[in-house]
Amino acid sequence: MNNFEYSRPETAEAAIAAVAGDAKARFLAGGTTLIDLMKCDVEAPTHLVDVSRLPGLDAIEVGPGGIRIGAAAKMTDVAEHPAVARDYPGMREALLLGASTQLRNMASIGGNLMQRTRCSYFRDPSYAQCNKRKPGSGCAAIDGVNRGHAILGTSELCIATYPGDFAVSLMALDATVHVQNGRATAFPIDDFFLPYGPSPHIEHPIGRDELIVAVEVPASAAARRSHYLKVRDRESYEFAACSAAVGLELEPDGRTVRDVRVALGGVASKPWRARQVEAALRGKTFDEPTIRRACELAVEGAKDWGHNGFKITLAPRVAARALMQVGGLE
């Protein structure tokens, strides 16, 4: 790992100014992604600006309209918050099924959103080709071992999978990401993750010197009846082969769908909202055949890159199962 300067400003404004004033400076929070990638020689900042102790940045505020989670709050603290367990159970499951307790005690919520893909060609600079690591160099994964790679939202330039769980649950719950850069800016979660265009190395609509300060999740009946199902090669401490974050609200008749949310993880270039599935279920009777038919729509336009075609079969099943579990059909 290259050497670097370390500073720990006392205010968010000072931290932002420190990063803005140094082209090779980066924010440091829990370090679980950044220090790891620095050890892999994928990242080489020369100045780390520690934002993990900024006063108030780790606050979790609960109101009738929703919950506001400070960006420096640890994954563990959010997962263990009583309001999260009560009103956002799917978000709690997504947090607890990610990483290990040690990493969840370190990783911040803001840093979690900024985690990078686990694509082995991205993480290993001995491969010359990676458009995310070295724009314009190509993609070694397309002709490589790509069993873990994305089937949705890919391009000829990059097929890397977005690896996280938490943001998938945020996607289903219509969260907002608050960013500070001199002025306050807010992004709907879907806009915070950019689709793969001509520049797969640009993953977010924010600059290096813009600091995530909070994530806001609106309260809803679907959030109160939410669930996260994660399917993976190993029972625990593993990234998703496919996951589904779902939320459900039924009409008073107990069988007609009023509101439904479906987002997928482990299969796409970004946390993937399956709006076609939701549209096919809204107003319909909540039963297994209807659910299974609707969930097939989740993989419309999916592409098999050689080793990952199994995900095209798997994703609708995971979505359907998550919905049946949350709806009490399984």
Partner: protein, 161 residues
């Protein structure tokens, strides 16, 4: 950087580059070699230590990030007279290791797992110990040791609450 670190109740002063991890500071500078370097990239759990009472990975924590926090390593678990921690004793009783390299990390993780209230049954122990890999595959004995230590520590934990 001139750092003051509080480790196992004792203050240590050291001069390190910012890139020095807590793991390397412990092992190479302070000769506290109980904390092991396995993968050195946050995947195996061998370097697990407690920071302000919570388990973290020392390989992904910069030494400077531990400034002003309380660090506990496996060397700090036993009592001053050498009496081993209940988790250490349970690991010996159950032969919960083979080569022993992952053991300090397993023990630090187990102590935290029990204190968090996650050592309620074998399934929960396995889930909340999953960040600690054992290449020898001593898992059945590790689970048995954690289960037994949790039972032994229950009265102490209740008294503390």
């Amino acid at each position: 950087m001139d750092l003051r670190l509080l480790i196992n109740g004792a203050e240590h002063r050291l001069d390190v580059e910012p890139r020095v991890t807590l793991l390397d500071a412990l092992r190479e500078r302070l000769q506290l070699t109980g904390t092991k370097k396995g993968c050195d990239q946050g995947q195996c759990g061998a370097c697990t230590v407690h920071l302000d009472g919570r388990r973290v990975l020392a390989c992904l924590t910069l030494a400077v990030q531990a400034e002003g926090r309380e660090v506990t390593t496996v060397e700090g678990l036993a009592e001053a007279d050498g009496t081993l921690h209940p988790v250490q004793r349970a690991f010996i009783r159950h032969d919960a290791f083979q080569c022993g390299y992952c053991t300090p990390g397993q023990i630090m993780s187990a102590v935290a797992c029990i204190e968090e209230g996650h050592a309620t049954d074998d399934h929960s122990i396995r889930e909340f110990m999953s960040g600690n890999l054992c290449r020898c595959g001593a898992y059945p004995h590790i689970v048995a040791a954690v289960r037994e230590a949790a039972a032994e520590m229950a009265p102490m934990r209740e008294a503390a609450e």
